[in-house]
Assembly symmetry: C2
Amino acid sequence: MNAGFSSLGPGAEFDRIRLVWNRLAQAAEGGGDDCAIVQFGSEKIAISVDSMVEDTHFRVGWLEPGEIGWRAAAAALSDLAAVAASPRGVLVALGLNPEYPEDFSAEIMSGAAAAAKAVHAKIWGGDLFRCDKMMLNVTVVGGIDGKVLRRDGASPGDQLYVTGRLGGPAQALNSFLAKGSPEASARERFARPVPRVAEAKWLRDRGATAMIDISDGLVADAEHLAAASGVKLVVNYEKVPVHPAVENPDAALVGGEEYELLFAVAGESATLSADFRDAFDLDLSCIGRVEQGNGVQVFKGGGAVQIQGGYLHF
Amino acid sequence: MNAGFSSLGPGAEFDRIRLVWNRLAQAAEGGGDDCAIVQFGSEKIAISVDSMVEDTHFRVGWLEPGEIGWRAAAAALSDLAAVAASPRGVLVALGLNPEYPEDFSAEIMSGAAAAAKAVHAKIWGGDLFRCDKMMLNVTVVGGIDGKVLRRDGASPGDQLYVTGRLGGPAQALNSFLAKGSPEASARERFARPVPRVAEAKWLRDRGATAMIDISDGLVADAEHLAAASGVKLVVNYEKVPVHPAVENPDAALVGGEEYELLFAVAGESATLSADFRDAFDLDLSCIGRVEQGNGVQVFKGGGAVQIQGGYLHF
């Protein structure tokens, strides 16, 4: 989840967050998007906290300890990417059953440190505590060295894009849940997601108007962006880039924990995707457009598709 | 616990922390004390994360939801006090069984916001996640507007002081554990600890050389300060200020979660305690002195006292 509590799409989880946010009112500062963004003396900092809990977000047997640390840190760092911040520091509070071997916590923390290093950030601290279920609460801090990208900047007429190819984490999750062995590249997307930090700043500098990272799933996060911007997002099912290991392409629209970027950009650019691929060796796909209205509309084969409870309905 | 991993006294918990710290090595920055202290552009920030877990640090029936939030936030803010930082922002990741009434999380967050407000900080964000046991991971961020007080500045010849009167939280805890009803003022010390933020800055400006907040207990935290400073701390049992509700005064030396300040100050000052009381309406007691050597020595009735496993042995 996010540091900010507002600008959320529909759903019971988000209703609860809205309730908390309304209660805090004047006691809160900087909220609204994936990160809080606050003026700190002469600097502007972005900060967010993200939790990853055993049996809710992962099972211990699925991942190596280092991957558990990497994944939790990368997920949190992705919130900094979403506002085009530059990561600086990571704090990891790690709850662990004391029966794990002593080296286990060090392996997890090393994985988190590797994810931090990959985006030029350092470990600024941590906490170890006893907990029956393993859990990681990761706080990330970044600097803002340019325009802040928020969720609320999309306008009718903008084009809608997404980075990468989606559905890999969901495919891996399904394999894990079926006691199978995920296809290697799908497993990698699940176990070692990559926060798109440099990509986000590049896209900001090329006219992105609103951005969010895909943690809840493409359509669910599109709902958040649509709500924040006060617009309707129209998504073409056939244009959503699907990870090659995915069996059911619906996974690309509803699967979470992608940590790819969904964003709007003003006007049309014939070369944006090609330039992006040159720079980052990563797909960039135009998947739809921004219109007047509200919510998210998915079209498949010319007809509207309903998505409810994380599933597609035709 | 603390953002930093070094400068710790003896103990298995701290061995584990040292192991993690050594593994991180170059991937870490800013550690060493209660907080990480890092240069952020032109600003210096202090940051720390602290966890509070149901059945490890509290039981739900002991506290009102608002007190649970206050206590977790105050404990974390106390780490900022220990380095004489000025709190600015608080992020609360709250893990909760979804069966709690919807308003419960809002009450907890409001309590955390009240603790933040009491030291002029704001809520910068949060996270709600499902968890069988209730838990709060609180990240605190502060600014440094003067000299940083660390644990490592004590020198032989310094006097050793402590704020407040100790043992109240331990007394309340014992009553809770015995299914009793704690005396009101002891309960207040347990349920609504006060981070000594303004007091720490006042003491820094009057020559404090090293400081720590008492979260593990007076003697245990004195061990940390002694180890960091490379000195011996001599404590006079009879001079340790005891909370009036305390039945066994040992509680003042071994009871944790005080969030009072233990510090060294150079030379003797006849008026320091009186001036402090005038400023803050709070006790300030000289409880011993700093000598060459290492570790902590407690004298009671002229004889040395041993403290093992959180208990006093004669």
